[in-house]
Amino acid sequence: MFWLLVAPSIGVALSGLFNFPDYLGDSLGLTFGRLRPVHVNGVIFGAFSALFIGECYYLVPRLCGVRVPWPQWGVPLAWVWNLVTAAALISLPFGDNNGLEAGEFPLFAKIPLFIAVAVITVQFLITIGRRLEPPLYVALWYLIGAFVWTTMNLVLGILLPYMISGINSAAFHGLYIHYIVGLWLTPAGYVLIYYFLPISVRNPIYAHKLSLVGFLSLALFYPFVGIHHYLYSPIADWAETIAIVTSMLLIIPVWTVLVNFFGTMMGRWSTFGTNLPAKFLIMGSIMYLFGCFQGSTEALRSIQQPTHFTDFVISHSHLTVFGTFVVWAMGGLIYVWPRVCGRELWSFKLGNWSFWLITAGISTMGLGLTAGGLQQGFQWMAGTEWLDSILSMRPYWFLRTMAGISMDIGMTLLVINLMMTALSRPVRAVERPEFGPAPVPAGGATR
């Protein structure tokens, strides 16, 4: 039943992974202004969220030892989620835009998405309430946080574009957009890696105390950071300062969870090369270290002077949203998918190609955009003619497109790999039916 559930949401989500239109550069028929929200929302609600929720339906019952209540709702919910997301993504290029960055979806999509998240939240809370083991594993803490916060945040997203005016609209929008990344993508990503990293490398988590420090500091600091998107705007200075201070304090949860992830790998590095899920998870963690260092420092007023409005910010968002969270979700997917299908991953070699293409792509993109953003920012500070500063960005933009193509090819290979895993009926499975019910190691974990 959970298998059925995971399948459609992931399947459609993967098609969402191909929605990276702005890597294609200057497509003339469709303008950037119309396609950018498709890319941003496609990644957030399509690629990441559908994968995450699908993988949650896998891990929650396993962590709690009981099934999710009303399992028959799962598949319809997945269909609602994916159809609504697809419909909203299609509507965006037709000019349906309400002006709320990262919340551009029309109401016909936002309200069903809100209901879906709310129902899933209730399902998971009930499951966790009925759990057999009293201790609450840290992944579940984050899961509760992610779902409860996001249920509340989506209400904000529904009301915001139509109710609040002027600089208050900007202040609330800053909160909303950073709740999407900070209270949805971040704890959701932590759920995945806290579950899939220990289980895929078969090592207990390095330090439970650290993981709690990470959770509490995230819960304490992350809700406040939103206004750092609009420093030096007419929004009250003290509110901007609170946002800056909490942004810097976010180094605490980031570094504690990263210590935990790398600590979990201790003693297992020898198997790392052949353990595909762990490779994705650890690569995402490295990206997270860089992406979040950027994020915290660019909240500082002095750093924001050159970096704001430039590709430095775009580099940060790609390193964290794609390089970390989507990569973690893919790592989890590579772990889950073969087990759901009851067979081995179709090709480890192909999976490794995906890994390296994606790694090379996101690293190049991150470095290139950071360098380009800094250059443009300092050019602006030096008073360079506007169009000259655009001209000097061209090589960086070309590099970014190449990096994006590399990532796209990597993900395409990954999807082909997973589809072949699901569709092919390998002779081995027939020959050795004892592999069926037993958990089958994925990604060549046992090779």
Binding site: D26, L28, T31, F32, G33, R34, R36, P37, G95, N97, G99, E101, P134, L136, W141, G145, W149, M152, L156, P161, Y162, M163, I164, S165, G166, I167, N168, S169, A170, A171, F172, H173, G174, L175, Y179, L216, A219, P223, F224, G226, H229, L231, Y232, S233, P234, I235, A236, A239, I242, Q305, P306, F309, V313, I314, W380, M381, G383, W386, L387, I390
Partner: protein, 215 residues
């Protein structure tokens, strides 16, 4: 267990605490609810004077423009606030004040400048510049990376041909489209020059006059 419960509840409470300090409290700052703006006026003696005035709501036409700006996602590439740092006042103009945004629902501050800031661009270019620029930005600034917005134009379904009029001049064929733009019986004439692609730019000044085509 209860300690855990408390921390979980606290986690949720921080969400509301943050909404309070970062969302609602700034709202109570007097500056957040004002519509006062500083305007510069030129006196009869030609002096520039700064005066405090009140922002007014958008006119229907302005609101329509804002809707298009929002719908087309202009705000992904163009910001609408000038910061008091990094020489932005020299590049764009005076720093923005909160009163200027009083009637913006939602705000369109923007977060990325792929193109220039548009807060102070209002009187910089004429309508004709904008027509040409929206048709093809590269006609006016060859290095621009902006998308062409030809979809915003009404385009005649058929091309208009050039014909000879009775007095030996070359003029445009009379079609519903050209008759809406020009008055062929007018005594006032306007000389127009199509470009090499056959594209004819009709300036505002040509409306209601007889077109004469120079090639």
């Amino acid at each position: 267990m209860s300690a855990r419960f408390v921390t979980l509840v606290a986690g949720v409470l921080f969400f509301f605490l943050a909404l309070g300090t970062q969302g609602f409290l700034p709202f109570f700052e007097p500056s957040a609810r004002t519509n006062k703006v500083t305007a510069v006026v030129r006196t009869d003696l030609g002096q520039l004077k700064w005066m405090l005035t009140r922002a007014t709501n958008y006119t229907p036409l302005e609101q329509r423009g804002r809707d298009v700006y929002l719908r087309e996602g202009c705000w992904y590439c163009h910001s609408q606030f000038v910061r008091p740092v990094t020489g932005e006042t020299r590049r764009w103009g005076p720093v923005t004040e909160s009163g200027e945004f009083a009637f913006d629902i939602p705000h369109l501050f923007g977060t990325r400048r792929i193109g220039p800031d548009l807060m102070r661009v209002g009187l910089k270019y004429g309508d004709e510049w904008h027509y040409a620029h929206f048709w093809n930005p590269r006609m006016l600034s060859p290095d621009s990376v902006m998308a062409p917005y030809r979809g915003l134009f009404e385009r005649p379904s058929q091309t208009v041909s050039i014909v000879d009029d009775a007095s030996g001049n070359r003029t445009l064929e009379k079609t519903p489209v050209t008759e809406k733009l020009f008055d062929f019986s007018s005594k006032e004439q306007i000389s127009l020059t199509p470009n090499a692609d056959g594209l004819l730019f009709v300036p505002m000044a040509a409306h209601g006059k007889t077109p004469i085509i120079l090639t």
